[in-house]
Amino acid sequence: MPEKAKIVLEHFHFYYGADMALKDVNLQIPPRQIFAILGPARSGKTTLLKSLNRLTDLIFGTNHTGHIFLDHQEIYDSQISLPELRRRVGMVFDLPTPLPQSVFENVAYGPRLKGIAQKRRLEEIVEKALRAAVLWEEVKDRVSSSALRLSGGQQQRLCIARVLALEPEVIMLDEPCSGLDPISTASIERSLTELKEKYTVILVPHNIQQASRVADRVGFFLSGELVEEGPVDQIFTRPKDKRTEDYISGKFG
């Protein structure tokens, strides 16, 4: 078992109305590694991510049972501050979602919400975040032009920078390379491997190969159930469950 888990799920069920999206998930996610969540469409991957920072709260009519702990603290506790939780557990979505503002304003958005208003301080944060997302060199001369004018790959790295600007502890990425060309994908994967030095990364890869390239551990989900979880080598070479094997070898997907 991994050292001390960053995130622990215990008997976690999640429902959209009467539909069960996650069923009795028990999982421990170790710190400073890349944890990949594999599974076919509608297996609960995105729901799992959005449960971890309670973005699911935005949707009406959802329900859950069980527990999720972040550093041993129950995140569904009524005492918890949601903005604070989301700053600690950042999320990058499957499609690039820059706000219709300048590059600078996009990255400064989160820090500003936190109450940082000093121009100098914001400039430092923005540059640091853009460097960490391997985007600084490409945009340093046009941080004040609209983020919508960046290419798709640049926009997605901007979204990563936006999350990094909040100095989170956990970064979740939901198929961050869907809709991106191989070169942009490679540069995002490069930044992912750098990120795990400091952060706990949870990744829904956009294909199985990506998981094998970057992940340390893999969890395989099917219809809302965690079928199997383990180190990447073991899952890819000696899966314990027949369904995992079938999925990895491409018999369904």
Binding site: N53, L55, L58, F60, L82, P83, E84, R86, R87, G90, M91, F93, L95, T97, L99, P100, Q101, S102, Y109, G110, R112, L113, K114, S145, S146, L148, C159, R162, V163, L166
Partner: protein
């Protein structure tokens, strides 16, 4: 059996006639007023107050009245309307309450202006003792244009992608921060359109204003002064046969003013967008 070719031609003909009759009616109305009124316009007409009930002199006091009434209406209706739209879209989901609010605004939109005038007269003028005044008239107009502002603001907010909200929350935003920094700035063009429609309706209104703001030709000195707007002036000049010439001149000035307001608004919007960068 009509051939496909014929039905195509007839169809095209029908929509063509519809489109061009609309244009023709519009041009005819504008021309009628402008041709009769424009030659009478000069600086004195704008800067002088009406004399002999408007038979001679200018329309200065009615311009002030129009601007003041419209301003009061917009200043009151915009925050109320936008606030309602934000509440309906961002703070509550489709429920009994939101349906009641929406039904109420729909009804309000269909009420004839004379009814608003009567309500304003009974409520603001008499009951609240505001008398015939810019305040009474402005409040009445505000109630009249509120549904338009709510409706257009709501449409604009509805059109904002869900992902913007999700991003804002994911970056640690509270609901209010999301509304203030993402929703309202992006809904601004739609809100602006609604406000402009409200301005148009306020400037053009007569019945409700005569009942609530009166028809005084004096230059108003406070919110509690009675006043006469350009539309009311036009109506009284024409209706009471005081001076058809002056009526047309007022009409022409009114049209110029509406054009001016629209141009100014478009320019402001354009500048706003250049600053935000889209």
């Amino acid at each position: 059996m009509i051939s496909r070719y014929t039905s195509q031609r007839v169809g095209k003909g029908v929509v063509w006639v519809a489109a061009f009759s609309t244009l023709a009616v519009m041009i005819w109305i504008l021309l009628q007023v402008l041709v009769e009124g424009l030659p009478l316009l000069n600086l004195d007409f704008f800067m002088d107050s009406p004399r002999q009930m408007g038979r001679t002199g200018g329309i200065f006091s009615t311009i002030i009245g129009t601007l003041a009434l419209t301003a009061v209406a917009i200043v009151i209706a915009t925050p109320l309307g936008v606030g309602t739209a934000v509440y309906l879209r961002e703070y509550t989901r489709e429920s009994r309450v939101s349906r009641i609010i929406r039904f109420g605004t729909d009804c309000l939109a269909g009420v004839p202006s004379i009814i608003f005038g009567l309500f304003g007269f009974v409520f603001f003028v008499i009951l609240l003792r505001m008398g015939w005044s810019i305040l009474s008239g402005g409040l009445t107009l505000a109630a009249m244009i509120l549904p338009t502002i709510i409706c257009t603001a709501e449409e604009a907010i509805k059109a904002i992608p869900y992902s913007y909200r999700e991003v804002s929350f994911a970056l640690g935003g509270t609901r209010w921060q999301t509304v203030a920094k993402v929703i309202l700035p992006n809904a601004m063009p739609g809100i602006f359109t609604g406000v402009l429609l409200g301005v148009g309706r306020s400037v053009g209104e007569t019945a409700a204003i005569i009942l609530t703001a009166g028809s005084s030709l004096l230059i108003p000195t406070s919110l509690f002064s009675p006043t006469r707007t350009m539309s009311v002036h036009f109506y009284i000049l024409a209706r009471e046969g005081i001076s058809m010439e002056m009526a047309y001149a007022t009409g022409a000035a009114l049209i110029l003013m509406i054009l001016g307001i629209n141009t100014l608004a478009n320019w402001l919007l354009w500048r706003y967008f250049r600053k935000v960068g889209g």
